[in-house]
Symmetry: C2
Subunit: 230 residues, 2 copies
DNA sequence: AGATGTGAAAGTTTTCACAGCC
DNA sequence: GGCTGTGAAAACTTTCACATCT
């Protein structure tokens, strides 16, 4: 099978791999780093909106996000012209536009794979629902967990992942032991899931068209110890 | 106070900010991305060692890590010449050398700030101790939690963070509510902590010389929804 | 032959600097 | 004067390709 070739260790992925020769839009030109920054602008704008600020500028936004004003403008320019020269940006309009870019208008159905400690913490994590990510399915392999419920969601056997679901599952959160990671991911893909947030240290092997973002906690820690020791 | 200027939203940081005009060593030339990859090579080498492989090559390592062989060699070249031309790398030697680069020889003393759901999951996360990160302190502001113990570690009031400690705390894991993030971080810094793994969505304001790595779970999720919707 | 280590080339991202608009 | 949007320059990262060693 033809498999994705080159995800960076921390979950980035180069672009331009399977261009269909459409004219390049902002979608294609913006890097993962740029999209990550959009998320942080979005958070800041939510806050500005709560504080009833009507307008803002790339300078203000940049200071809060810890980047340069030029970077803010460049990031936004990949997707359109959202500001007005001389005036800046309308806070709620810009927030809405970024939200649309990030796909935050949708209600995303998420499956949690692995109901251990980490799985439970992620299940309880409030920020996900705020942004439209609903963990509506929980799967685990441990018979002592299967059948129990978390906040009304029944934990089902991981084998049931591939059974037909009334509604499609958009995203899987992978929080199983590293030894089970590849097997479980293969099942998720068979079940039609095309986006995976991977909390295991495993380097997942997925077919083209499936998106993986790695959150490796130990690696993040090691980048700190590297900085401390250097 | 003079403050750190430009961490990228996902925790990267440009180099070359306060060069002391020493000749550039690998430590300075290697990017955060490169160090992240070193961590993943380290994991793979541990596995090779368990499988009793004596030697390996940049090609083998690269395939497993999902990068190119040239990248493996370049990453390593920032820190030294660990291989032998024509022969490849000695698995255990290379693992040891990378471990040293990453500061994995040490026993790092870690304080967990915030004993909520996420904090508990991180406390229980096995990979940390395997790499030398020991969560020896847990702090929380909630009086109903203070005084309880997790696996022999007593949860203390966050106010005690600044009391003198017999042994220094090297790293703080920040898992408090976002509203408390900046206050708690200021205390951690007063207590002498210079490295922070930040699980809150807050953009932390820290003095120069303090290292922050952000793990923003909602942002990781948003980068998936962006890819799904585009 | 087979592999590393590394300058140089290619590619990507960030910053600069300024035209254009309010 | 203030601020955006953007080509061009600078900086940085990855890949190439080959000298060098076993």
């Amino acid at each position: 099978m033809d498999r994705a070739r080159r995800p960076t260790a921390d979950g980035d992925r180069r672009r331009g791999e399977h261009d269909k020769r459409r004219p390049a839009t902002g979608m294609d030109r913006a890097s993962v780093a740029s999209v990550t920054r959009l998320s942080s602008y979005y958070r800041i704008l939510e806050e500005f909106e709560r504080d009833s600020l009507a307008t803002t500028s790339s300078t203000t936004l940049a200071r809060r996000a810890g980047v340069t004003p030029a970077q803010v403008r460049k990031d936004l320019s990949f997707f359109g012209n959202f500001g007005r020269r001389g005036l800046g940006y309308n806070v709620s309009l810009l927030r809405a536009q970024i939200g649309k870019i990030l796909g935050l208008g949708h209600r995303w159905s998420v499956a949690l794979l692995g109901a251990g400690n980490l799985g439970h913490a992620l299940f309880a994590y409030k920020e996900f629902e705020k942004q439209g990510f609903y963990i509506e399915h929980v799967f685990d392999a441990d018979p002592s967990k299967v059948g129990k419920s978390w906040a009304g969601v029944r934990i089902r056997d991981i084998g049931e992942l591939q059974s037909t679901h009334a509604h499609p599952i958009h995203i899987a959160i992978l929080a199983v032991p590293v030894s089970a990671a590849q097997t479980v991911v293969a099942r998720a893909i068979t079940a039609g899931i095309r986006a995976i947030l991977n909390f295991t240290p495993a380097q997942l092997d997925v077919p083209d068209g499936v998106i993986v973002r790695n959150v490796d906690l130990a690696i993040a820690m090691e980048s700190l110890s590297f900085a401390l020791v250097k």
